[in-house]
């Protein structure tokens, strides 16, 4: 997908949304529900423009479907909560430990360990990923080939295997690496390859005209890259980079292999100490959701400031 098309798309999407906004509803809604609806629409995200702005009958049908789905979703939530309560899992005693400062402190320390791994790995892997992408895009086979081999091989090896190789293989070579780095280096090696691929697909998704124009102006390959291609590619690939960073954060849960104590381990210790496995994991799951949502939101803010339009370029497959 070219960015040109992406721009066209967002224009269409805006138009559709605008249409829907101007068509008056059956009853003018008061301010509060309208704000609530606006919030929900933000949460719901952009639609894909698969349907026309609905007419009166369509609106009625949508309203009915909304009501029915709301009831079903509410019933689902209620059933789970009710069952939990019925089995005494919501009893205050089961949760008391998570209100104690030392336990909160313990969780925060573990979270900090997770965040540290993420930050350090990300800070190392991102620039190296960019360099690797450049190498793979260069015209010199001497640069291109090693970069391609590195990327393909490292993306194919499960991270866990890499961590084991570090843990079990390095001592045999007489190398002793602190635990923190035994976790960070494998994550860096893998993610450098993934980041490189994201950058590269971002570069390749740029309209060829951009490079051609730069060349027509007499810019060299590297100047073109630096001034024209890379700035746009980074903007293009921001969403993919963010989701890869979230994945990187989740990679840190492999820390248990090298006995590095991060957030997931904290859940295990708390569950063992208090005999409340479900509660401990629920709390930690919540922490992961909050942290990753905050990460995505921050990155989204940065992206908006950069002025990049979200596009499918460089979007990575999940995994």
């Amino acid at each position: 997908m070219t960015p040109l098309l992406a721009k066209g798309q967002s224009a269409v999407a805006g138009e559709v949304a605008g249409d829907r906004g101007t068509i008056p509803g059956p009853r003018p809604a008061s301010a509060a529900p309208r704000r609530a609806k606006a919030l929900l629409e933000r949460l719901a995200g952009p639609d894909e423009g698969l349907f026309d702005p609905p007419g009166p009958r369509g609106r009625r049908r949508i309203a009915v479907a909304s009501a029915v789905s709301l009831v079903i979703l509410a019933a689902l939530v209620w059933a789970v909560v009710h069952q939990f309560a019925a089995h005494g899992q919501l009893h205050a005693g089961q949760w008391r430990i998570f209100g104690q400062w030392p336990v909160i402190h313990y969780l925060l320390t573990a979270l900090w360990a997770t965040v540290r791994v993420t930050l350090v790995s990300g800070v190392i892997a991102l620039p190296f990923g960019a360099l690797l992408a450049l190498a793979r895009l260069s015209h010199t086979p001497l640069l291109r080939w090693p970069a391609a081999v590195y990327v393909e091989v490292l993306r194919a090896i499960p991270l866990l295997l890499l961590i084991y190789a570090f843990l079990l293989g390095l001592p045999n070579l007489g190398l002793h690496v602190p635990l923190f780095w035994q976790l960070v280096w494998p994550i860096v090696f893998t993610n450098t390859a993934v980041f490189a691929e994201i950058f590269r697909s971002g570069v390749r998704a740029l309209p060829r005209g951009q490079t051609e124009a730069a060349q027509a102006l007499g810019l060299s390959h590297w100047t073109t890259m630096r001034l024209v291609v890379l700035p746009q590619a980074i903007r293009q690939t921001a969403p993919a980079l963010i989701s890869q960073t979230v994945r990187l954060l989740k990679d840190s849960t492999l820390g248990y292999v090298v006995s590095f104590l991060e957030l997931l381990n904290a859940a295990k210790v708390l569950g063992e100490y208090d005999h409340t496995v479900v509660q401990a994991y629920l709390v930690v799951a919540l922490v992961y959701v909050v942290v990753n949502t905050a990460l995505a939101a921050t990155a989204g803010g940065v992206e908006r400031r950069l002025g990049g339009a979200p596009s499918s370029a460089g979007r990575k497959s999940p995994g």
Binding site: M1, L5, G8, Q9, V12, K37, L40, E41, L43, A44, G45, D47, E48, G49, L50, F51, D52, P54, G58, I62, A65, S66, S69, L70, L73, V80, Q83, F84, A86, H87, Q89, A156, I157, P158, L160, L161, Y164, L168, G169, S243, V246, K250, T253, L264, A267, V277, V278, Y281, L282, A285, Y288, V289, V291, N292, T293, S312, R315, S317, P318, G319
Partner: protein, 215 residues
């Protein structure tokens, strides 16, 4: 090396269980992911919000956390069934979020003009989706879906951490426990995983080349 040869049957049966778990997980994830994707492109606001929150939430949680919650949490609300299927349920729900994203990216890859043309012809939401969008989206999701299948397979090893000891990693763990040879046993298991991943990747590549339409 003799250790591996002597216990090749153990690896075989472990691999079979792993394949079974992965296949069931993938099918479940595909069905749920499709449902989520339909919710997300539908005009019904609560469904769209639900789908977005679900995908966003689930993607933030490490799979192992979700697995543990299901294995130990479900019995607490009175739902107990076999460990293997509990693990499949949790993994299916997890990967559904990713599958939904794959499908949505596929839908987004269909040129907007196609959709507008369909609407101009008077096709409804269902018809546009069925006759125009999905057939084209399907082709562009083969590679991402294959990546997903590989991810599902490699991560099925996490089931071992919640007691599904019959699968490959669990069996490897047992062997390692007995012979204290982690490098050898886990190396062999890793080789098996990498082989499967290679094979799936190659298959997807072949399928992709066969079906791909250049636009």
């Amino acid at each position: 090396m003799g250790l591996i040869v002597d216990h090749i049957g153990v690896f075989g049966s472990g691999l079979r269980v792993s394949a079974e778990i992965s296949a069931c997980t993938f099918v479940l994830a595909a069905l749920l992911g499709a449902a989520l994707a339909v919710c997300q492109i539908s005009p019904v606001l609560p469904l769209r919000v639900f789908s977005r929150l679900y995908v966003g939430g689930v993607r933030s949680i490490p799979l192992l956390v979700l697995l543990t919650l299901f294995v130990f949490g479900l019995p607490e609300i009175g739902v107990v069934y076999s460990l293997q299927w509990t693990a499949v349920t949790a993994m299916g729900l997890y990967w559904a979020a990713f599958f939904c994203e794959v499908l949505r990216a596929g839908v987004r890859a269909v040129p907007r003009g196609q959709i507008e043309a369909a609407r101009a012809l008077g096709l409804g939401f269902g018809q546009t989706l069925r006759l125009v969008v999905l057939p084209q989206a399907a082709r562009s999701i083969i590679q991402p879906a294959a990546s997903l299948l590989i991810a599902v397979t490699l991560n099925s090893s996490l089931a071992a951490a919640v007691g599904v000891t019959q699968e490959l990693t669990g069996q490897t763990e047992l062997l390692d426990q007995q012979y204290a040879q982690p490098l050898l046993t886990f190396g062999a298991a890793a080789l098996a995983y990498v082989t499967v991943a290679l094979w799936v990747g190659w298959l997807a590549g072949a399928l992709d080349r066969k079906l791909a339409v250049s636009r």
